[in-house]
């Protein structure tokens, strides 16, 4: 088969290799019909997530058709059409029983590595470094799905791939980010980052009753999408001071909750962002948390800071004093996918939600490297790329 393979910083290639095989009794093999590139993939390509190995297959947003079923899998059969969540969960551990799916105790075969860095291991993830299992990803013609009787969601024929593909990650992620804000009717929610995750968070915040959503970014077409398609007010951080602006437009009180949908590679005009960048380049820091700092600083007293943006290591100069003094609540983490997939699918089926609005580009898998470049550099108005692994090159 062909798949998109990581070879190093800014070096991904489509390669030919043997097809995946069933390795464990609960596995299935999927013929991937549609897959996408996520902002999280950019962290890998930018080389800021450790423990990648040349030859690793990327991709954790994918769906397809079951072509082979392991002998202990009672749930799926050949021909089923499924969306696969990016977190791999066993279904049998303490954490899975509590629906803390992304914290599964058993699905990371490299648990000891994650324990070294984080104290305890979290769940395995597709195509996301060896710290979280080193599982081959789904930007490929075929993919092996472990514990596939737990995560994958069967999809009815009445909806298209593009309508449901984002149940694999960004829709539940944006939804959880908003749910974590504990939104009360009429609340004001500030969202940093108008990438795909930010867009889903804006939509979800309104669904959950927010009165106002204020979206922050500096990429023109992303701000436009937040404003025109999703009804948010916007702040362009290249031209406006985010804190002052947020304070003014909330009548001096600050947003009730703040969502960091940017993560460890925030960029921007603020002084601290430049210092972080220099420190990271010199290996003096692991993450660049300038958005997190802003969110903590700007959040109203007693508010919630919700962090779907990914962090991995040690954060410098986080204003913990402000967080403590204002009595903030923090919610964060990889998404507990299976809590949200079924209910969100139902909303899509009822026509209440169509997450395919974020798609700006469609590519055959053969041109995946080009797609990464476009998405990474935000060229050509690119917000979200989907790829068809079995389409012919054009």
């Amino acid at each position: 088969m062909r798949a998109l393979v990581w070879h190093g910083k800014n070096d991904v290639r489509v390669e030919q290799m043997p097809d995946p095989k069933i390795l464990n009794p609960r596995d299935v093999i999927l013929r991937v019909t549609t897959t996408a590139i996520c902002g999280s993939d950019l962290h890998l390509v930018n080389g800021v997530i450790p423990s990648m190995q040349a030859g690793d297959i990327l991709g954790h947003e994918f769906m397809g058709e079951v072509v082979e079923v392991g002998k202990e899998n009672q749930k799926l059969k050949v021909g089923d059409r499924v969306v696969v969540p990016f977190t791999i969960a066993c279904g049998g551990c303490f954490f899975c029983e509590k629906a803390l799916w992304s914290l599964c105790d058993n699905s990371n075969p490299n648990a000891w590595m994650a324990e070294k860095l984080w104290g305890y291991s979290t769940s395995g993830l597709f195509g996301y470094s060896h710290l979280t299992g080193g599982y081959a990803g789904g930007q490929a013609e075929y993919v092996r799905v472990p514990y596939s009787d737990v995560g994958p969601l069967k999809i009815p024929a009445s909806v298209t791939d593009e309508q449901v593909l984002f149940l694999s990650d960004i829709l539940p992620t944006g939804y959880q980010a908003a749910e974590n804000c504990d939104i009360q009717p009429g609340d004001t929610v500030a969202v940093w980052g108008c990438g795909p995750v930010g867009q889903m968070a804006i939509r979800s915040a309104f669904l959950l009753g927010a009165g106002r959503v204020i979206a922050i970014d500096n990429v023109c077409e992303r701000l436009e999408m937040a404003r025109d398609r999703n009804g948010a007010e916007t702040i362009d951080f290249s031209h406006q001071d985010v804190f002052d602006r947020l304070k003014t437009i909330t009548g001096g009180r600050g947003p009730d909750s703040c969502i960091d949908a940017v993560g460890l590679e925030s960029h921007g005009g603020s002084f601290d962002a430049y210092v972080d960048k220099a420190k990271m380049a010199l290996y003096l820091a692991t993450d660049r948390p300038s958005v997190l700092r802003q969110a903590i600083h700007a959040c109203r007293k007693g508010g919630v800071v919700s962090v779907p943006g990914v962090y991995g290591g040690f954060l410098d100069k986080v204003p913990f004093g402000a967080a403590f003094q204002k009595g903030l609540t923090f919610k964060m983490g990889q998404t507990h996918m299976m809590r949200y997939m079924q209910p969100l699918l139902e909303r899509i089926e009822r026509g209440e939600l169509d997450p395919s609005f974020v798609i700006t580009h469609r590519f055959p898998l053969a041109r995946a490297a080009e797609a990464y470049d476009l998405f990474g550099r935000k060229q050509d108005g690119c917000i979200k790329v989907v790829m068809k692994p079995h389409d012919l090159v054009h």
Binding site: A3, L23, Q53, A54, G55, I57, N110, G124, G134
Partner: protein, 253 residues
């Protein structure tokens, strides 16, 4: 076994990469070791399991001295081996099953090789004695005989080596059902002591540079199989072209 070997050598690559990354971030590794709040002695032990093994081998250890005096509740291997010598491993894991189930699975020693990759076989020789074989360096077998010292259904199993094994060891597994929940804490205590110098290398290999690493991996696998019916793996999965470095590190491991 072949599968696990591949998995283990892949791990070796990862260890070095993660450590390199961590130590390249100024202060991060130090903060992490600080967070563990190890005693200075503990930190040294972790840093140099091999050195400790050497010390263990040369120092006098009145092994077995106290065995037989306290058959009632041997939780502490120090008692079984008669002193604080050799290498101690103290690991625990929580398994999402009642203690009676977990105990029964563990008590079936002959099935343990299914859970612990480096064990080749366990064979019963009489009511309380078992012959153990593990795979050592260069795929050489190391073998020992052990007897069960103490056994309390659903609570405890303790054993020690008998005869003149390469490795003098004693251990206990304690099963503690959580209050008000259906899960069980499994506490493994193990102490081992190379008898002569000759097998020091074998032990160092078997237990890795951090004592307990292998036990922890075994426990994790044991838990995964009990809770999910399989152990998670990526060995044999699809991948693109690996770098030469990858293969070099693999064959070295």
């Amino acid at each position: 076994m072949k599968k696990n070997e591949v998995a283990m050598s892949a791990h070796t690559v990862n260890i070095s990469e993660t450590e390199r990354w961590l130590s390249s971030i100024a202060g991060a590794a130090m903060i992490l070791s600080g967070l563990k709040q190890r005693s200075v002695g503990g930190a040294l032990r972790a840093a140099s399991g091999a050195a400790l093994l050497t010390r263990g081998a040369s120092g006098y250890c009145p092994a077995y001295a106290s065995v037989g005096r306290s058959y009632s509740r041997i939780y502490d291997t120090r008692e079984a081996l008669g002193g604080r010598c050799g290498v101690h491993v103290d690991e625990s894991i929580t398994i999402n099953r009642p203690a009676a189930d977990v105990w029964a699975i563990w008590r079936d020693f002959e099935s343990l090789p299914n859970y612990i990759p480096s064990l080749k076989s366990v064979t019963r020789t009489d009511a309380t004695r078992f012959h153990w074989e593990a795979i050592g360096p260069g795929r050489r077998s190391i073998a020992w005989d052990a007897e069960i010292l103490n056994e309390i259904p659903n609570e405890l199993i303790a054993w020690r080596t008998i005869g003149e094994p390469d490795v003098v060891s004693a251990g206990s597994v304690r099963f503690v059902q959580s209050k008000g929940r259906g899960d069980t804490q499994v506490h493994v205590r193990l102490q081992y002591e190379p008898a002569g110098g000759k097998s020091t290398a074998a032990i160092a290999w078997l237990f890795g540079k951090e004592p307990g690493q292998l036990i922890r991996a075994g426990l994790r696998r044991f838990k995964a199989i009990i809770e999910t019916g399989e152990a998670p793996t990526t060995a044999g999965q699809a991948h693109g072209k690996r770098s030469l470095l990858h293969y070099a590190q693999r064959s070295h491991a």
